[in-house]
Symmetry: D2
Amino acid sequence: MSGNSMGLLFSVTSFGESHGPGIGCVVDGCPPGLELSEADIQAELDRRKPGTSRHVTQRREPDTVEILSGVYEGKTTGTPIALLIRNTDQRSKDYGNIADTFRPGHADYTYWHKYGIRDPRGGGRSSARETAVRVAAGAIAKKWLREKHGIVIRGHMTQIGSVEIPFQSWEVVNDNPFFAADASKVDELEAYMDSIRKSLDSVGARLRVVAENVPVGWGEPVYDRLDADIAYAMMNINAVKGVEIGAGFGCVTQRGSEHGDELTPQGFASNHAGGVLGGISTGQDIEVSIAIKPTSSIAQPRRSINKAGEAIEMETHGRHDPCVGIRATPIAEAMLALVLIDHALRHRAQCGDVHVDTPRIPGRIG
Amino acid sequence: MSGNSMGLLFSVTSFGESHGPGIGCVVDGCPPGLELSEADIQAELDRRKPGTSRHVTQRREPDTVEILSGVYEGKTTGTPIALLIRNTDQRSKDYGNIADTFRPGHADYTYWHKYGIRDPRGGGRSSARETAVRVAAGAIAKKWLREKHGIVIRGHMTQIGSVEIPFQSWEVVNDNPFFAADASKVDELEAYMDSIRKSLDSVGARLRVVAENVPVGWGEPVYDRLDADIAYAMMNINAVKGVEIGAGFGCVTQRGSEHGDELTPQGFASNHAGGVLGGISTGQDIEVSIAIKPTSSIAQPRRSINKAGEAIEMETHGRHDPCVGIRATPIAEAMLALVLIDHALRHRAQCGDVHVDTPRIPGRIG
Amino acid sequence: MSGNSMGLLFSVTSFGESHGPGIGCVVDGCPPGLELSEADIQAELDRRKPGTSRHVTQRREPDTVEILSGVYEGKTTGTPIALLIRNTDQRSKDYGNIADTFRPGHADYTYWHKYGIRDPRGGGRSSARETAVRVAAGAIAKKWLREKHGIVIRGHMTQIGSVEIPFQSWEVVNDNPFFAADASKVDELEAYMDSIRKSLDSVGARLRVVAENVPVGWGEPVYDRLDADIAYAMMNINAVKGVEIGAGFGCVTQRGSEHGDELTPQGFASNHAGGVLGGISTGQDIEVSIAIKPTSSIAQPRRSINKAGEAIEMETHGRHDPCVGIRATPIAEAMLALVLIDHALRHRAQCGDVHVDTPRIPGRIG
Amino acid sequence: MSGNSMGLLFSVTSFGESHGPGIGCVVDGCPPGLELSEADIQAELDRRKPGTSRHVTQRREPDTVEILSGVYEGKTTGTPIALLIRNTDQRSKDYGNIADTFRPGHADYTYWHKYGIRDPRGGGRSSARETAVRVAAGAIAKKWLREKHGIVIRGHMTQIGSVEIPFQSWEVVNDNPFFAADASKVDELEAYMDSIRKSLDSVGARLRVVAENVPVGWGEPVYDRLDADIAYAMMNINAVKGVEIGAGFGCVTQRGSEHGDELTPQGFASNHAGGVLGGISTGQDIEVSIAIKPTSSIAQPRRSINKAGEAIEMETHGRHDPCVGIRATPIAEAMLALVLIDHALRHRAQCGDVHVDTPRIPGRIG
């Protein structure tokens, strides 16, 4: 376990570099009997894939997934599911310059000092390309959660740079290039992103992910709390710098009389907890919000050093997302799904036969 | 591993309930040869202990720690270090009422549905009392990090409710009951907390933890990123609802030209990354900020339900912190220490013999 | 995880040295609702405890266990169960000699080189005293397996030195100091052990452990096979040098036509597999056999070296079992129970909802 | 972790079925900077591959390995190394019969009851074909151990059915189809195996694996003992029913005065311990012996049942090894290498900076 696996019972072990032969993962622990095809996974991959609008990287990877194992006659068998996505758009070019310098905001400097060797081509292992693997693995988790428990996991952008995007409706999220839940904001976002791109700069973003219909009782009490595992999963996404559950940082100025969600026979009166109390799901929606830093690769001159420790100036040209946050929505959904399925299985292991007479109250009143 | 252990190589396995015989933990993986006594641990415990001012719970627990194993003639032996803190201030009282109802904002409802049984005395396992164990284990981690690597881990409150507390100096943090780094704010905080208490309410808080002198190269690339493990650790603290690394949510409105920390031979030009790039430490200060919700136990009437699912009204009297965030400072320091020592050992395992000629630049210019 | 925990879902984290304040463990993952008292555990500890006959060590430890957490009103709560056994019979004596030399057959030399420091008192962490902890944890596992699945786990000695002990009946096993399943052999064993003791020597032993009523389907397919986890658990017992499942080494000279257990609607026709095929339980009895080396501490002069690397001669006096294998029976039962409960929970997690129409055939014909 | 990963720090996650698209694994935790090419791995795979003599299965798989990640410019980068072996010799045939019945001695019955679904083609996941993956991963481990520590890991058959094979010389082991260390035995073995094959039967086997030059101090004290992890690894090999370390079952009749290896300044006087004391390596050779059951697939009629639970008679035709033990030699070497590298890294993590003045005595006198 050197940092490339996550999940105790539904575990994903990821591999691959941006410009090597391919990327992929082994999903171990998927319950048997789930109907699964490459098309199920491809549908999620296509939501993340580059080249879909002018606001994301123009790299063109078909990102075609192959299931190498663990599925027989269209159903999972309980054995490991290996997924492989071949890399196809590795442009042949000279990486000599990148290989000897450290791009600001990137992992070049830290990888170099940690490993003493690094694959500089497209960022190697630290490339956001690796996140395709999580979306693929997450597609399996999502499907199981939906079919077994009716759980729906969805995300949308709430802010891109200075533009806040209110929530209007889930309906429109997949119909615009910004995963915006308010169609009336799309024109403003288009113009804003165009201006960012023209200024040879990039911006940060914020998004929200919600899981509905999670049963009460999933999670652990002290160290593998459901919200802690979610924070871990989200902060594992490239470029994420902040995570909130429920009220998040808003709780700092709340009073206890406001924050603590009251219970009524008709349901919880509010959801400041974001669906988790004491590390365990309440049955309310799991509410997560994350902050994503602006893309580090920009075409402006920036100061840095080279391997010899000498000062240099560099600008990064190429096919980069001006806001990496945009394509993070399916990734964040996938990460949340991976955490939830793991806790679903953990719950079944220890408490699968617990019966409680107390009625489970609805997540929300009315 | 049912949610009571953390750490891969320096692992802490916690046990105990608020009003049972005691709480404690087993620390496995501490390198041999570290000088360690109960006094080393007690010093940290005393910073967290209740009853030190009128602004925290008046529960009086001496919280005396006993080392049961793993230390011989004043030094760690490399074998597990078991720590035990006996509970002494369990007031004998009737918990019948609490046992049949679910306090809003608490884990009562979720524990009940998860386990079908719960120890209601003082919150049982979900009590913040368990955090004493982390402070104890963290004291060992802190000492090793300091002696082996010169790492200093410190925290201070940055906001209590609506009162922001600027950073002035580390010197004063331990000299006031609020872990405030600005002595001039103490009077205002005293008055503010008195007013909160009088209104029978509670408030949230925000604090910052910093680790200085962390070497470049600690962390993992994809899933057990240093910042992800920090987010996990922090969100595992009772009542934490948000975690930020470096710029945190502030990165949403930053441009790439601002956020990406430039490198110069004299050091990094800024630290928006908070000391972590690509999941691996940069050699800059690790900067973490967390949000802590207001205490859920307040003496105001609140709506809830009982085990039969019927509507009730309850108010929680007793010895509660009006702002649980205050005593969270040593806990957050401990959690950061636990994450760092684990990654120190992981780094040594995989990359302990890596040698790089590139100079390691200082964390900060000037 | 530095070698003091075992089990993925029902995990035992052990601590303690032979002559420190105490030994104990944290059991994490026990399902909630199991009736459990200290008496349940004490009963198993008493089967292992020293001083019960002249054929085992005369050290007198009451080995009284205290439950520190995880049990409320007589039932497990699903939270960690911490167990503590205080050491009481640490004779005050000078360990200076032992501290500077390495006893042949003991872990002194290896601990010293690994850790650079060791607690020499009574073997410190490497003392067989630590096995009391496993018996205590195993008592919980045994009880759950029996109550939930009707599983019965029993062991008996099959050979002590040159004396083979046939299986006659489980009835007599706990009625003689040798855990012999043949009462007619007890006199011979008494005389044999007396002669060994008089010759200032020790002997090896062999024992068999059986788990009945294990359902078909527990185990994992490739790396955490049920039999592999059993082999791991058994070899983790001090002094064990060999492990067999089913036919064991006898399979070397078997033909496929003999070894492969035929299936009939009335049950399996034989059990050469020892209850495990492809790493997964068959529903037949789990059959395990282990070899235990002779006690290393003997009162004869033996060659060794001291810390300076100089040749010395040493004999070990004190209160030692002339055959450590004798008291290993309850330990081996406990280890098997710990493996089985872990796989019971793992099975429930991944395959808890699998339904198969095929009848489960009985373990044995007739 | 559902039973398809092994290793804490150098972990192998395996995937694939006998007749699916391919088999492979992800090796996570390999230290950076190791020179590695597909040829290094292929050399070990070729030792295990089928079709090399008339005494093993005639299935013809080139078993060509592809490195998908983790290697850059001929060196490991510290990131995961994914290996893929495409399946090429899946004969198209009707598996209907096998799909509805359970072959005696195989995992058919247990997989079916565990998962409720199974890939019957060639045994699916339970096929010995999966062991190619371990040989591939083991090749990496072997190379690192050899280059970093000078460790040599070698195995040879010690018995096939009733024919014992004495050790004469390592030189000849790879020059005969039986991995025999005595060339004079080869004719007898040829004749013996021919007779077994003609009788439509199969036989068991026994082999020995040795690791030379392992430093003193690797291993863990209580639960992840080096010998326990070896036993686990070996018992994870298909068809293994017994494991011995050092004297193994021979210790049952030994006296303590014989078994306990004396230490002298010139080295240990014997190696009954098999290179492990108290779970930690002594610096002597690690000595392991395993028993492998006879091939279950034989062309004789055997009793079984079908999915409906009805009695049937079946014989298994096809391309099967008459003694699966023969090709197990490189697999057992690989498994030992995987355990050793994991403990090498674990040792470095916890005790990498321990310095002891005591001289390390040689493994053997003279």
